[in-house]
Amino acid sequence: MNSAIRVDLQLIADMVDPAARALDVGCGDGSLLAYLMNFKRVDARGMELSQAGVNACVANGLSVIQGDADADLRDYPDDAFDYVILSQTLQATREPREVLRQMLRVGKRAIVSFPNFAHWQVRLRLVFGGRMPETPSLPFKWYDTPNIHLCSIDDFRALCADMGVHIERAIVLDRASKPISLPPLLANLLGEQAVFMLRRD
């Protein structure tokens, strides 16, 4: 049993109460699922777009189906989970607002992490480099990126306000995925990614 997971996943895992019910949308290789199941006794389920990822997860004893956030969240009944988790995937969805709405319908809480498009490096590259930004958390060329709906931390806050969604926690992370404590204006400049825990108001 491996207790070491990516730092940002560890942050998410720490937000989840033990023995809760959780759905990880875009669960990848299932490392967060496995951690939640093994170390927090969470009834953890996963959804993953790539069939290879799904097959690997199921072969490891995880409950995972093939599906994507845009299409398949709507199958679930209201309040089916305590948490619906979307890690580093929101920016790749077709309809992020609808995905968020579905997450908060299906789950009592939603945990969302995403790269901050207002990070100073991104700004510099666009303003002075005149090219689409490529950074460690946004490593793609403009023509092959899966990230079609990028946003900044402030953009995300604005969307939550517009949707009437309550932000329970917001953690801003630096390059090493370490939490940094800064006023919002600076956080939006210096944070490389962010993790939000949301609930319906």
């Binding site: 995972v64 189906i65 089916a80």
Partner: protein, 397 residues
Amino acid sequence: MTMAEISAALEPADRAREADEPHSLVVRFGIDKPLRLDAGVDLAPFQIAYQTYGRLNAERSNAVLLCHALTGDQHVFNIHPVTQKPGWWETMVGPGRPIDTERYFVICANVIGGCMGSTGPASTNPETGMPWGLDFPVITVRDMVRAQATLLDHLGIDTLFAVVGGSLGGMQVLQWAVSYPQRVFAALPIAAATRHSAQNIAFHEVGRQAIMADPEWKGGDYRLHQTAPARGLAVARMTAHITYLSEQALQRKFGRALQDRNALGFGFDADFQVESYLRHQGSTFVDRFDANSYLYITRAMDYFDLAGAHGGVLANAFRGTPTRYCLMSFTSDWLFPTRECREIVHALNAAAANVSFVEVESDKGHDAFLLEEPEMFRTLAGFLKGAATARGLKDVP
């Protein structure tokens, strides 16, 4: 093999005896314990032929029920008493295999309506002393499952750790989990669907018509007349066999290759290898299977409609289910395609059930579930391992 040779391969006597006195375990229920059938009649007396592998643990918590497909039987992991060939799932079941007989107590019963020792149209009707034939009531998948539940009661097994099966076996798995959710910890329907499509029914109807059009069928009373509708049954099998294979697999295996000749014969012998192959499939099948059983079991598959039995909403069938599901489909299976499997997944999601779903890349068609498919083995082994941990089953020592 020519069609004349096929018709000459009459049902051997030992094959017929197997229906009443099977070479396997068998439990007989008297007239005081009738099996209530969906057709609205009671079947009594009746018997269930079954095999077990491995050992039941002290907690009685490690039982795995395997459900066989249309032409399968209880002989999963032993030499078949009629064909003398290995069991139908020796790649999957056994010591160290995904369904590990060192860890699990594996049970497989011949379906009711079958011809390998569970009561069916080939069994002797106690009222007449003759084979039931078409006097046997039409049975359903739910009846098959109900009969298996009776067997488990008899064996003193309350909860199954897992129910596993492909095709018709997968239909039974689904029916098991829906009929007895508290008795099924984990359900693994493979290459299955919750209902037959029009195309599925159509293919089965061709098979049934082939059997009934055979003059040797004699209205189902062929045993009385000491005949056998071997040609009809062989054609039924040939038709069905095409549906079990993918177009690519058939093309890869045979293409237009000729059979034992260098040029076309300008006749109607088996010029092509694919013809010879199908004739072989048909002729070997009639030696081991009862034609009336084929009619009854295909009918049960056609009648199966899990959503229909729950107000047309499949999710209703799964509402509140405690069972954990693992569904598998194969990319080239056009008989029970992935999209039908996905419908089940959607319905299970709507019931917030614990579900895993894997589509296995394979060009072997529907039959893939019976074949060497490493990804299927990995998936099944991993899922069972996870479920065993959740169930608190001890590891293999």
